[in-house]
Amino acid sequence: MNRFLEWYCSAEVIDEIQGDLLEQYQKNVAQKGIFMARLKFTIDVVRFFRPSSLKKSGAGMSIFVFARNYIKVAFRVFKKEKAYTLINVVGLMLGIVCSFFIYLWVQDEMKYNQFAKPSAHFVLTNMPDPGQINTWTSTPQPLKAVLDEHYPVITRSAVFSFNQRALFEKGEDYIQSMGVYTTPELFEILNIEFSKGGNSHEPLESILISENLAEQIFGPGWESQEIIGKTIRDSNEQRYQLQGVFRDIPRQSTIQMDFAIPYELRMDQRPWVKYWGNYGERTIVTIDPHYTTEEANEQVKNAIIDHRSDQAGIAEIMLQPFSERYLFNKYRNGTIAGGRIEYVRILTFAAILVLAIACINFMNLTTAKSISRSKESGIRKVLGAHRSYIRMQFLCESMIVVAIASALALTMVFVLLPHFNTLTGKNIPFQFLNFQLAGGYVLFILLIGLISGSYPAIFMSSFSPVKALKGIVKHSQTSIILRKGLMVFQFVVALGMIVGVITIYKQVRYIQNKNLGFEKENIVRFRRGDISTRDQYLSFRNQLLGMPGIQQMTGTQVNPVNVTSSSSDPQWPGKTRDMEVHFKILNTDPDFIPAMKIPMVSGRNFDWALMSDTLNYIINEKAAEIINVPDPVGLDLKFWGQEGRIIGVIQDFHITSLYSEIDPLVIRYSPGASYNILVRLKPGQTITALNSIEQVYSEFNPVNNFEYSFLDTEFDNQHKAELLVKKLIQYFAILSIIICCLGLLGLVALKAEQLTKEIGIRRVLGASLSSLFRLISFDFLRLFTIAAVVAIPTSYYFLADWLNSFAYQIRFSVWIFAGAIATVLMIVVLTISSQTIRISLRNPVNALRNE
């Protein structure tokens, strides 16, 4: 306690305070015993701890005094070396901004599907196909009952439909919404609570809606209204009794719904969903927490095989933790094979690299600069500063730079966040007052300051004061090698980033421009709405084809850029029993092939005039290859109990994303199934054409709004993740090049400064500009060469891996690497030559007499 008193007490008052306290203490010992005396002493010491008795800063030798001096000196240095400080701060700032954005993005990605019960698992089916296993995210409806009854490891299960569109009446208007048919367990599995009413699925025609939809239907004051029990009507005159309002599903969820209708109603309305053969529903379960996913999987994988009575189209099922459903969304041969997580990893890696090169820049510049500050350290040492104080000083300086850079970075993040949200299609809020974030932030500053400041600090404090004052300090061999090594690393990162950008850019452009086998441009797709009968469709067609801007139209059952329905049912003479082939099925009309501009290979197209063509089939080349007869046209094909013939073969075209290869396809002429209407517009007349469609559409659809999409956009949307990564990695590459440039600029400038006299003498003796350039650049160019040698195989290795996830990929060419090298080299040379010119243009006299 006494020492504490001496530590804080200023010299002016220590005598009276300590003296009085000690005197009192002695007396107290005599009167009240040692314990009480001590207690009183301690209490008094604490009570004296107040501003009037504290040491005045500047008066004694304390840590505060040093800190004040360090800060003062640091700011003087910043002021004196403006350009160099600017380079340091800007470089670090860019690095931090970049990594901060990625941190926000990754965090948002990680939040997906985290709201559900931890034991929630999604059920997938592994459908065997020749040569591979296709994983489907859909399951048959009877699976739920089997899982509930026979597998105790499954504690709860829910079956629910894919998203359904509905239009709900609100006065005269309709509100469009997406929702599902589901059994009640879904809400428990997903942990969704009810703000009004409850999870009631009685009566059959009841409905549960989200808060969002409640507000749309009942207005902002819905919470205070008695809305439970009210009737909601949809555009098909179906009435539902409102039973509950559930909290909105979090934005970060792969299951989105604004309403839920009892699943039993779906089974009443669409009896076919009850069959095992209909893989059209989704199943989600919770498992007994005592089992791991693998153990549970082992138990249930044969659920369909063991319980499906007809033994046709059987497949193993697989459980995937619901929380991983978003990031691990690619499946290969019946196993989970990454997916979005790869992009999370790539970007995290890139963010760390960018931050690392920013730190390296800082380290390099500070260490190189340290020579010119050796005198300062020398004097400090002579005046009695310990090594640790000098280390502290330089660490302190780095911390200040990092703090300034990160404060600027934070401001930039705040300003740019809306743009970032638009770019990534997210909605990340910025919480400045988040305690956790603030704490993490302080830690981050300390960490980065420590990492990037530690080497310069150790280096600077190691100078011998005598040498430092004489000005003969040289960088040691190790420090030079380290600095060069760091420089090489920076070049490697910059080169790798550029190679990455070029490759990703080319692959994405390849996807966008790939000949898909049909012309995807100028095709508008929309839902048929109320145009449901064949007659309505034909009159719609006739009316529309007469309108301006319209070239062709056709109707299909599913979106032709993402054909998902498939069957192993087709039979033909010569098909062996053990041959299990899944054909993709596309139901459409005779206009499809001409409207999509798909070339016929042989045979003929369907004919509007021949109703018998509804029994016939057109196949693609891939299917023809599998059927494997010399001329498949005219071959009998039995399919879903319907005996017909193959009448034509068309060229292969892409029916799903470019991740997968083209599957065998059977096209059927099925007039009633045109849920999607596709219209080919005349090129250049988009607006006229859209007006025409809307006009005709509204005649047939008084209720529905005309909502459309372009087929090429939809195709691109399947590769959204790649497009995003392409954009982000572009920014990263630009940033890393800028940071590298800044560092290079700083280093070249320093080198030139150190060589001022040499250059002056050379100039006087008549050296040319190019020989000076060689003098300065030789070192940097050598480092660059080493970097190129390292960067090329490394980036090749990583990118080849990424490209392998595409079924259709570009080939690596020398030009990608040559381009990257040329770009970086150009920047390096430009930087060096600008500095050379700057120095050479100075009058050599000034350089030589600068003492």
Binding site: I14, D15, E16, I17, Q18, G19, D20, L21, L22, E23, Q24, Q26, K27, K40, I43, D44, R47, F48, S52
Partner: protein
């Protein structure tokens, strides 16, 4: 008017310092206060009062001798200034005038 800023504790301490002549410092003042009034006061409290009185100009201080009891630390000895003395006089006068006006009770 100058006497207005003096509280009862301050006045008592001032009187004690006056009475103790040359030997008034933290511990002694605190002891005297305790023996006279019967109330205890801590060292930090007495320091605060003394310091305040010094700032107001009623006391002046100088360093005195060190003893082993005090761990070799010097004492800060206090003395009442002329201004302090005048203020005490004024306070007494005011009080006496008021006593003059008060009716006499025998208890």
């Amino acid at each position: 008017m100058s006497a207005q800023g003096v509280g009862i504790l301050e006045e008592t301490v001032l009187l004690i310092v006056l009475a103790m002549k040359d030997e008034a410092y933290g511990v002694s003042v605190a002891e005297e206060y305790m023996s006279r009034t019967g109330r205890s006061i801590s060292i930090p409290a007495i320091h605060t009062v003394l310091k305040r009185l010094e700032i107001k100009g009623y006391l002046s201080s100088s360093f005195g001798g060190a003893t082993t009891d005090r761990g070799g630390r010097k004492k800060r000895l206090f003395e009442v200034t002329k201004f302090g003395y005048k203020t005490l006089e004024e306070l007494r006068q005011t009080r006496e005038e008021l006593w003059q006006l008060a009716p006499k009770y025998s208890i």
